[in-house]
């Protein structure tokens, strides 16, 4: 279950970046707000892994208030990965839902 959850979570991170770059705290707050992430800190190993895999890029930016922040953005590979995930996930999810609720095929 942990793997399913984590795997889906990585794509949720990528999906959040589709609309544009975001900084870590912002991503963490959104995911915990949606009950997708239990503790904010575990986001960073995932981001580090996505960055190493070339799906996400990082850059340091000056912020309006406070110290420079690290921004995360989607790479073309990341874009493709999340599109493929979406195309697989949507029918998969409705199939699982149907089985769980006992709807006939």
């Amino acid at each position: 279950m942990t793997n399913l959850r984590r795997g889906a979570l990585e794509y949720c991170i990528l999906a959040l970046l589709r609309e544009g770059e975001r900084y870590g705290l912002d991503i963490a707050r959104e995911l915990t707000g949606r009950s997708l992430l239990a503790s904010e800190g575990t986001l960073y190993p995932l981001l580090s892994r996505l960055r190493k895999g070339g799906l996400v890029a990082t850059s340091w930016r000056e912020s309006d208030a406070g110290p420079p922040r690290r921004y995360y953005s989607l790479t073309p590979d990341g874009q493709r990965a999340v599109n493929v995930f979406e195309a697989t996930w949507v029918p998969f999810r409705s199939g699982v839902d149907a089985v769980l609720t006992g709807r006939p095929a």
Binding site: L25, G41, T42, Y44, S48, G66
Partner: protein, 222 residues
């Protein structure tokens, strides 16, 4: 942030760093930098209380949980799709040579037997060498030690005598001829043949070690 809060954050980051190091996480600097950035973003430049800092750190969660997430081997690493050849890390060549050569010198005790076996298993199991090189390694790496012990130089150089009987036909009535052959002792050390064998064995062992190490390192996974 005053000193108390800075110390609070420092403690958290030190704990996280130690937890990441404990699990030998390769990306620990990256993770540490992004968590530090998270804390700075969350606290900003404004005056923050100890309670604010505590809340940010609580929401970040247990440093050990972060390290566990970072180290989880079940997670497929997008970069690491192809399986690596077996036992092909850069430490393997040195380990094989050290295990075999050192263990065979110390073979008088029980533990070196296990480490010698471990070295040979590592040598044959590793994807770094061809079967011929593995055979050469198995024979030649322990050769200096075998020569050392076999020629009685490493041990107390006692003279060893072996009684040998020459073949006698049964029922021939002939008295059995027994020759006593004595070996070892200082005689072997002084003999040209013994010294030559020892030098050859040491040279062979060292050459095999150099060859296995150099070939192994050029093929090893960085």
């Amino acid at each position: 942030m005053n000193n108390t809060e800075i110390a609070q954050v420092g403690r958290y980051l030190t704990e996280l760093e130690a937890a990441l190091a404990e699990r030998a996480v390769a990306d620990r600097d990256d993770i540490l930098a992004s968590v530090r950035d998270h804390i700075e973003s969350a606290l900003g430049d404004d005056d923050v209380s100890e309670a604010d800092v505590a809340q940010v750190l609580t929401q970040l969660g247990d440093p050990l949980a972060i390290a566990a997430e970072a180290a989880d081997p079940d997670v497929s690493d997008p970069l690491d799709r192809g399986a690596r050849p077996r036992w092909s890390a850069r430490w393997v060549p040195a380990a094989v040579i050290a295990l075999i050569m050192i263990s065979s010198v110390l073979w008088a005790w029980f533990l070196p037997l296990i480490t010698l076996a471990a070295g040979i298993v590592l040598l044959w199991g590793s994807a770094l060498w061809t079967p011929g090189e593995k055979l050469a390694g198995t024979v030649l790496l322990p050769a200096p030690a075998v020569a050392w012990w076999g020629l009685g130089i490493g041990s107390v150089a006692d003279e060893m005598c072996v009684a040998e009987s020459t073949g006698v036909e049964v029922g021939s009535g002939q008295a059995e001829q027994v020759d006593v052959v004595c070996e070892g002792g200082t005689a072997v050390w002084e003999s040209v043949v013994g010294t030559g064998l020892l030098v050859a064995a040491v040279l062979g062992g060292v050459m095999a070690a150099v060859l296995l190490y150099r070939r192994g390192m050029t093929r090893a996974h960085s």
